[in-house]
């Protein structure tokens, strides 16, 4: 067997435990074969060492943050995919609207105190923060233990509450802030500038 024939039939980097017949008779091929065995073993060791290498832990944290940001951004760009995320907000607005509508017609006529109370509230709130007290409201201020909520109310509702608005479609939604007392009852309203 010639050296060329030997190497042609030698599988690449696959060596048996015994030295092939040709290598026993040809020192040059034997030396090259040993070198190749050493290289194969070195590559295997390097591959094993390599498997222990991992990217820094900070990379996972950064990519997770990017994934969260992207998921959030995608939700705001395409609300159809994440519409259920708006359910709590919609429910809150609906509850607030219900509350306002419930308080307004029931309390106003029954209590009949708006003429007495409203000016007091008006003096406190209007001077401090631009809030317009609702007709049935108790005295309140922004610093009380209440909540401030952003809502969209129809222009007609706001006008009915005494908010001065230019003429327009009474069904048009207008963004406003409503001040709630500690019990959740609306106390005052102001337009969002």
């Amino acid at each position: 067997m010639t050296c060329r024939e030997f190497w042609n039939q030698m599988p690449e980097l696959e060596f048996g435990p015994e030295q092939p017949e040709h290598a026993r008779q040809c020192p040059a091929c034997a030396a090259l074969l040993e070198s190749q065995k050493a290289l194969a073993e070195g590559l295997q060791r390097l591959a094993a060492d390599n498997r222990k290498i991992a990217a820094p832990a900070g990379l996972e944290a950064r990519l997770t943050a990017a994934f969260r940001n992207h998921s959030g951004a995608a939700g705001s760009r395409a609300p159809a995919r994440g519409w259920w995320a708006w359910i709590p907000a919609a429910a809150a607005v609906a509850a607030l609207t219900f509350l306002i509508l419930w308080w307004y017609p029931t309390r106003l006529p029954s209590r009949g105190t708006e003429q007495a109370v409203a000016p007091v509230v008006s003096e406190t709130l209007a001077a401090d923060s631009g809030f317009i007290p609702l007709p049935y409201a108790e005295e309140a201020s922004v610093s009380d233990d209440g909540d401030l909520v952003d809502v969209e109310l129809s222009r007609a509702t706001l006008v009915a509450w005494g908010v001065a608005l230019p003429d327009g479609d009474p069904r048009e939604a207008v963004e406003a802030e409503v001040l709630l007392d500690a019990g959740g009852a609306p106390q005052a309203v102001r337009l969002v500038q």
Binding site: L39, R45, L46, I53, E60, T64, F67, H70, S71
Partner: protein
């Protein structure tokens, strides 16, 4: 840990499932990071490229088509393109990342007997440097087939070449590695060892 193939995990990830994204990342980032590290010998580049690969995956218009191959192969392909772009930008360092002086020192540190040397840490380090100093077409087949133990057909798909080309590049790459790892023979030194009466050279 929820089970799932790469494509199933990708589909879940597309719905905003963070766990699916993390499972995919933990499954695939290691080979990609190491592949880039082996091509560039730079941890910072490996980190940057791995980050860019997964940022591309996060984008919904990343271009992955399950009908054309596996997600893993796709991500390797993205990483390879980014590495090639990086090497192109740093052309002066691209083919010879190790300065020549350093490489010479490395070569001399290898013993005359490569069999014993490659079984030691110094020999392994010399082999790592030798791989990085290969021309990139050889470097990438060694990184894929020898270090990541990818089969030839997968490597051929990723590199966009026939399997035979992968095989011949690997053969040539291994030959070059042996050349780099074996110290240059100094004929004069060999002759001096024989203590001749007269030297004609």
């Amino acid at each position: 840990m929820a089970p799932g193939t790469e494509n199933e995990l990708l589909a879940r990830m597309r719905t905003g499932d963070e766990e699916a994204f993390l499972l995919l990342y933990r499954k695939l980032h290691g080979p990609i990071y190491r592949f880039v590290l082996n091509l560039t010998n730079s941890q910072s580049v490996a980190e940057d490229v791995t980050q860019d690969v997964f940022l591309a995956l996060i984008r919904e218009d990343c271009g992955f088509d399950a009908g054309r191959g596996t997600l893993s192969a796709y991500l390797f392909g993205v990483a390879r393109k980014l590495v090639l772009r990086h090497l192109e930008r740093n052309r002066t360092l691209g083919e010879q990342e190790i300065p020549k002086e350093e490489w010479a020192a490395t070569a001399f540190s290898v013993n005359a007997d490569p069999v014993t040397d490659l079984l030691h840490t110094e020999g392994i380090e010399a082999l790592r440097k030798a791989i990085v100093s290969l021309p990139k077409r050889y470097r990438e087949v060694v990184a894929l087939c020898d270090l990541e133990e990818m089969d030839y057909s997968q490597a051929a798909t990723l590199l966009g070449c026939p399997v035979g080309t992968v095989r011949s590049r690997l053969h040539r790459a291994r030959g070059l590695l042996l050349e780099k790892l074996q110290p240059k023979r100094d004929p004069k030194a060999a002759v001096r060892g024989l203590d001749p009466a007269r030297s004609l050279t």
